[in-house]
Symmetry: C2
Subunit: 553 residues, 2 copies
């Protein structure tokens, strides 16, 4: 298909995306409902079958630099995926990608944009297959895996395309410059402006949101003309392998070398990320994962622009509420959703030691904590519902943390293992709630379904601790409950100074750990949890440069 036809086919989506990113009103390109009416009668069945067809086989990708296979993914629902992926030699792969990338680099903005939008559209059509792939690598319950791993991730990818496209076309391709010279003839020049990509972009995926956290970087780098090497987390390769395969199919069909997008799968025993990150040809890196490795990348991959999302310690402050029941319900779900394995899940909940005012009168610290514990317990009381909310624990390390922290004498609510029908070995755990003893106990990230109820002197104290915590330990989300506008204003001041988004009085169907593409920014880029936001101009504008030529006419 002619590449401008692809651009025309998806132009309306692009334009609506641009508009949404500017109004920040509700909009989504890819329906989040897994309804047969949206995705087709057989979509679920076919998607599951497609997922199963990958199991215990080689995942074929005709890439350069292959040296055997790699892959040892285990479903958190209790079985080995048994999929082998091509293992690559980093030097050969990078060398080959560098050698073939110029056709993509010099393609027109419209061509590249049309192809990226076509890729996203094709990924969208395979959202059920992706949902199962995400479920059985991350442990997310199916509904979340479908939504966050499918349409929501696609929206975040589109959002990056939208920002990059708009920034690229801000500069015209050609301009006529005519400078008056008084009585003499004017100076007249024709000037050409070319978007020139940085080189190769490396996208390093994480184990919990392999697509959602990778698509922004993948599409931001790709649409601006860079070749992209995708290095998935060893525990969550399949969703990105499928994504890469779709990229390659579309590229090849449109006459480009498919190696513009490649997969560099690795195993935990022989990680490739450092070698890839230090390759001189790699000029962009998008990383989601640990603070340790994120800092290593920032400190060592100095030839590249490095975008990192690292660990954080998210906080909620309870000052007062006129909807105690709504607050407890909202926070109970927030703490339970995907068993706290979201980078936006709150860890520390600050409550004044003297208690809080509610619509039912004063509640003591212990009463608030007890209500939250009961809320979480009840929400996960039914095994079936618990499985659908909690999903499974992705990693052994998180299981071990639940075990370790569950042994203390500060346990408010113990974690329980939830049995799941059909998946005997699924690692499903309800949230563990602890009472904080001193600041050292809760100030570092304790990843997983583990939260601290922190008694503060008062809300001033809560705000002060949170401001320092965000500045020092990072955070991606921050929630506060208060009936006082003055307290909320001060919380907004804390949020601005510390650089974290804040949600006020969430008591209904929006949760502090959820963000909506085109409306909510994910992270701010100004606290230690992340050096960039998804997505804004800063996230895209340094992925390419403009090279100009000029001549007299």
């Amino acid at each position: 298909m002619s590449q401008s036809l692809l651009f025309e086919r998806h132009r309306e989506t692009l334009e609506k995306g641009i508009n949404a990113s500017r109004t920040r009103e509700y909009w989504t390109a890819y329906p989040e409902s897994p309804s047969p009416r949206v995705y087709g009668e057989d979509a679920s069945k076919n998607g599951e079958a497609a997922f199963k067809s990958y199991l215990n086989k080689d995942f074929e990708l005709d890439q350069p630099g292959m040296v055997g296979t790699v892959g040892a993914e285990k479903s958190p629902y209790g079985f080995d995926l048994g999929i082998s992926y091509p293992k690559v030699d980093v030097t050969d792969l990078v060398g080959e990608v560098e050698a073939i990338r110029q056709d993509w680099a010099t393609a027109s903005i419209e061509t590249r944009t049309g192809i990226c939008l076509e890729i996203l559209d094709r990924i969208n059509k395979r959202s059920f297959e992706m949902g199962f792939a995400v479920m059985h690598t991350t442990g997310q319950a199916f509904m979340m895996a479908f939504q966050a791993g499918g349409p929501h991730a696609q929206d975040r990818g589109l959002e990056a395309v939208v920002y990059a496209y708009e920034d690229m076309v801000r500069t015209p391709a050609v301009a006529r410059w005519e400078k008056p010279q008084g009585k003499r003839d004017p100076l007249v020049m024709e000037k050409y402006f070319t978007v020139v990509p940085r080189g190769i972009g490396l996208v390093i995926g994480c184990s919990t949101f392999p697509t959602w956290n990778s698509y922004p970087g993948l599409f931001a780098s790709l649409v601006t003309g860079n070749a992209v090497i995708v290095k998935p987390h060893p525990g969550a390769i399949l969703p990105l392998a499928i994504s890469v395969e779709i990229c390659r199919d579309v590229l090849q069909q449109e006459g480009f070398n498919p190696n513009i997008v490649t997969l560099a799968a690795d195993g935990a025993d022989a990680p490739l990320a450092k070698d890839l990150a230090l390759a001189p040809e790699v000029r962009l890196i998008d990383f989601t994962g640990s603070t340790g490795f994120g800092n290593w990348l920032e400190d060592n991959a100095r030839q590249a622009q490095v975008y990192t999302e690292k660990a954080g310690v998210n906080c909620v402050i309870i000052d007062s509420t006129d909807n105690f029941r709504g607050m407890v319900g909202n926070l109970s779900f927030t703490l339970s959703l995907y068993a706290g394995q979201m980078c936006t899940a709150p860890q520390n909940i600050f409550i004044p030691e003297g208690g809080i005012d509610t619509e039912d009168g004063h509640k003591s610290f212990d009463e608030v904590v007890a209500a939250l514990a009961t809320g979480v317990e009840k929400l996960n009381g039914d095994d079936g519902r618990a499985c659908a909310i909690l999903g499974a624990i992705q990693s052994e390390a998180t299981l071990a943390r639940i075990e370790k922290y569950g042994k203390g004498d500060n346990v408010v609510l113990a974690s329980r293992a939830v049995p799941m029908e059909g998946f005997d070995n699924a690692t499903i755990r309800t949230p563990l709630i602890l009472k904080a003893t001193d600041e050292s106990s809760y100030s570092a990230e304790v990843f997983g379904p583990i939260s601290y109820m922190v008694p503060s002197k008062n809300t001033d104290d809560s705000l002060s601790i949170v401001e320092n915590s965000v500045k020092n330990n990072g955070a991606i989300s921050f929630g506060i409950y208060s009936t006082s506008d003055e307290v909320l204003d001060r919380a907004e001041g804390v949020a601005c100074r510390a650089g974290v988004a804040v949600s006020f009085n969430l008591t209904g169907g929006v949760y502090v750990n959820q963000t909506a593409a085109f409306s909510d920014f994910h992270a701010t880029g100004s606290n230690p949890a992340a050096n960039a936001a998804l997505s804004d101009t800063a996230y895209v504008s340094n992925r390419y440069r403009v090279v100009q030529s000029r001549k007299h006419i």
Copy 2:
């Protein structure tokens, strides 16, 4: 004056600037003509008087952290300025600025933009004063000092404001988000988006273009809500001291603490730049100067976003021409203008050893070199005209280089000292032209009026050497002369791959070392000469972050 009135007063300038930056057609906000009809009958006389009023006095600035005075500027036209500036204690200054910067950080985008535009307008009205200040610190001839140090620098400052303003308002201050929930009521939220600056911006000026190279960073940081500390080069303090004073006057008049913009003058014997750059509160650094210190900043000031313009080796390739006379005239002026002390001045001119085709038939390598040498010699043959083009040599180091390189046996055209009426001790020197012997002789920057005529095997060879040179040594400009569209296409390919702007066949009144704000980007940010371009979205978008709050309504 009400701050929104300032915004309204200058709104048309802002909007025209936005439009010009998008069309990249000719536009300027500040007239470059020093005509009395534009700037007033007495502007020149008053400007010179204002400049002279600073000499041999204390430059008063009521800043925090003052510990005595500093200043030892010498006019390259042969006299000491004798001006003393406040000397600051870095810790005290940074601490005080950090303590008072929140009012500016939380001012509205319109307030800050209006104030920045008012500052630029007031600086513009003092362009003659600025012209003399720039002339007698940088050595630029008055016309250039007036234009490049005045209106052109102001245009570059405005350009940064334009990009930053447009990027900041891309995100609305408030949005209503309404997500349908099928048959249930929609989820409705109100979301607020706040531009939050990084902190303190440090602007480190250079000795040759103190205003032109500093205004983009100064205004980009300031308009996005950062406080700014300006650290001038010890040799060119006055132009930035005047600029800082105007900033402070406008800030104070509009009810802000003037210490939002401060001057940190230093002497060569006790430099402050490293201490300032490593202060944790300094989160943005704009630097123009040596590669050594630029790299040091990038490697060490890791708490800050660092924008650097460093050394480069600019090249011109001569392949062929149908206007030999025009080419020689253009290049002769280019090599002479401000005696090669522009970061865009070409150093290496590549000519095929077999000579070139021209409208007058074939010319040998030696004939081309001889024509250029004669062109430069004749252009500067008249002392008065020579002084008006060359200006004076800014630094002792450049004078020493002319001396040293003039002693070789590869001198094609010797440099001569030009006497200047009224300035007996002015250090005015004509260009020194050398014939390159081997690559090692010309591959590093030799700053000043020193150029190499480089024999290449052929134009392919020239292009290949230039591509490598730009990639390895950096460049801000690149020119080529050819009558072959195919050669120009290949040159454009070299320019794109190496990341440098290219000018084709300049034979008239536009020179490879000149760029026009709103139309030409200065540097690309993708070769070692600079990690940013003046100005584009990438240059402004990381100077602030957006912090969001949301609540149900």
